[in-house]
């Protein structure tokens, strides 16, 4: 059955029609998504969208009340023993003894694995070398977060689930974490992360699943998602009275130029690099000096607003 084999190789996680309820609340409502092996996949959505419940079901912490979950081709619950060494887990918070030191905690988790990453370089890489004998409860939120990430990857898993890996990190630590996620992908590790930061999903993910109210409302690469729906806008200022009709004809079809105020022009349409090049070339050829030009890029934030009618972080 070559088809099944191909599935095992390329699909790291498959969630189909997952339903999870807590009492009267439906946290996950028929959610389906796929994670391609070797990719970085972001599950993006506001708090309470069902991200953590979905991830924790994949991690084997919860039994699906409806639908199915397969991880590396296996069942997270009945095949837990086979899966645990292969899957790294970063919890949203906690996960360490309050009195343990960072290095002792990481060394312990490493000791449960057959071929762990060397602990000292990993601590150094994550800026945890200086924590010394500080008990876990006295580490800063960011240090606790980085230790959580270290514990997820120290066993050299094939697949890691990172639940809000950069929540509470300062900008520098956040960029360090992003670099580490890039390195994981480059090393062939499949990464699934949840986030409610748009820039994080745009920066890291090959594939984004936008989740709201327990369902996937859109999926695609960040570029695909940002292209769909509303158009981008280029705004530039120059001398007044340019012939906008001629300019519009010079630009790709589907774009339109209007002079909003004297000397301020707005180009609506798909603002890609080609459009900008064509626009500036036309200006140069026609002796028009552009004084200011800006692209108001459509972001995942806008995509989310369009899809749900709500701000992501509300």
């Amino acid at each position: 059955m070559p088809n099944t084999l191909a599935n095992v190789v390329t699909v790291a996680v498959e969630v189909a029609g997952l339903v999870m309820r807590y009492g009267a609340t439906t946290a996950v409502d028929g959610l389906s998504l796929q994670v391609t092996a070797g990719s970085v996949t972001a599950v993006l959505g506001p708090n309470g969208a069902g991200k953590t419940t979905t991830i924790e079901t994949c991690e084997g912490y919860r039994r699906p009340q409806g639908g199915t979950v397969r991880v590396l081709g296996l069942d997270p619950l009945s095949d837990a023993r086979a899966l645990r060494p292969r899957v790294g887990v970063m919890l949203q918070r906690g996960g360490a003894w309050s009195g343990s030191h960072a290095d002792e905690m990481l060394r312990h988790i490493a000791s449960l694995h057959a071929h762990p990453i060397a602990v000292d370089p990993l601590l150094a890489r994550l800026g945890l070398r200086g924590c010394g004998r500080t008990p876990y409860r006295r580490l800063s939120g960011g240090q606790q977060q980085r230790l959580g990430l270290a514990m997820a990857i120290v066993g050299r898993p094939e697949l890691v689930f990172l639940d809000e890996p950069t929540a509470g990190l300062d900008p520098q630590a956040r960029r360090d974490t992003w670099d580490l996620v890039d390195e994981l992908r480059d090393s062939g590790v499949t990464v699934v992360l949840t986030t409610h930061f748009m820039d994080e999903a745009e920066r890291l993910a090959d594939h984004v699943h936008v989740v709201d109210n327990g369902r996937v409302v859109a999926s695609g690469s960040p570029a695909q998602l940002m292209r769909s729906g509303a158009e981008n806008t280029v705004r530039f200022t120059a001398e007044q009275g340019i012939d906008v009709g001629r300019l519009t004809m010079a630009l790709p079809t589907g774009t339109k130029v209007t002079e909003q105020r004297p000397g301020t022009y707005v180009v609506t349409g798909d603002a890609d690099a080609q459009l900008l090049a064509t626009l500036t070339r036309w200006c140069a050829a026609n002796g028009v000096m552009v004084r200011e030009i800006s692209v108001q890029r459509r972001t995942l934030e806008d995509v989310f607003l369009d899809l749900t009618g709500r701000e992501l972080r509300a």
Binding site: R81, P85, R86, A96, W97, S100, H113, G155, R156, S187
Partner: protein
């Protein structure tokens, strides 16, 4: 700096996992000052104060230290297997440690074995320190080598019974409630559970009930062992039943989060 992150998954050998778990749990227990008070300071105080022949509590006939020493050993076994284990496990659940370990290659049995190892290490230190202190205070253990055999058997059985009760509480109640209940039960059994005070000093009507408590069985069993009588079948049976019932209940109700 670049680190090789390429996948190489695999679980460590079970024995290494259990040893590692036992070592870190022991270190964390020892690091905790409250646990040290519970494990050594309180039993030592009871030994020193109680061995004074003027006696605050009437322990019955015979030299007070000979009655008290086995009871203090029973108390030490109980404090670690029950109170310390319950509190530690309750907070492990609260802080997501059990959840984290649940995602690691360490199987549940390995976790239990690790905890058992940590409890055993602490108990060994307790029994040696308290035993030596009791000898210095004039304890004459009777019963010969058999008594020490019984000490081992009853410690294992008592640890199984109290440890199962500890996991039952820690697995069902929130951490703060576990802390309260574990300390309360410790005090109640210390006073009313025939750990220190021999069963014969309890009101006639209460005796049949108190001897069915795990504390009563452990305390009486050790006293019987060190007077040379040897604990009866009843003692062993009581501890076994508690271990089985509480163990079954704990394994059914324990929640890792």
């Amino acid at each position: 700096m670049s680190i090789d992150l390429s996948p190489a998954p695999g679980a460590a050998p079970l024995r290494r996992m259990i040893a590692s778990q036992a070592i870190i749990e022991t270190r964390l227990l020892v690091r905790n000052a409250e646990q040290l008070v519970l494990a050594l300071v309180i039993p030592l105080l009871i030994l020193v104060v109680g061995s004074d022949s003027s006696g605050i509590v009437d322990l019955g006939p015979g030299r007070p230290i000979d009655t008290l020493a086995p009871g203090v050993l029973a108390l030490a076994v109980m404090s670690t297997a029950f109170t310390s284990l319950a509190i530690a496990t309750g907070f492990e659940r609260r802080y997501g440690v059990l959840k984290r370990l649940g995602a690691s290659p360490l199987p549940r049995l390995g976790l239990l074995a690790g905890k058992g190892g940590a409890v055993a290490v602490v108990q060994c230190v307790q029994l040696i320190v308290l035993g030596v202190a009791a000898l210095l205070l004039g304890w004459h253990p009777g019963g010969g080598p058999a008594a020490f055999g019984w000490l081992l058997v009853l410690t294992v059985l008592g640890t199984a019974a109290f440890g199962s009760l500890a996991l039952l509480i820690a697995g069902t109640l929130p951490a703060e409630a576990t802390l309260a209940v574990a300390n309360l039960v410790y005090v109640v059994l210390l006073v009313g559970g025939a750990v220190l005070v021999p069963l014969s000093r309890y009101p006639e009507a209460a005796q049949p009930l108190v001897r069915l408590l795990p504390s009563g069985a452990l305390g009486e069993g050790l006293r019987d062992a060190f007077t040379g009588e040897g604990p009866g079948v009843m003692t062993v049976l009581v501890l076994l039943v508690w271990a089985c019932v509480a163990g079954a209940a704990a394994s059914r109700t324990f929640r890792w989060e």
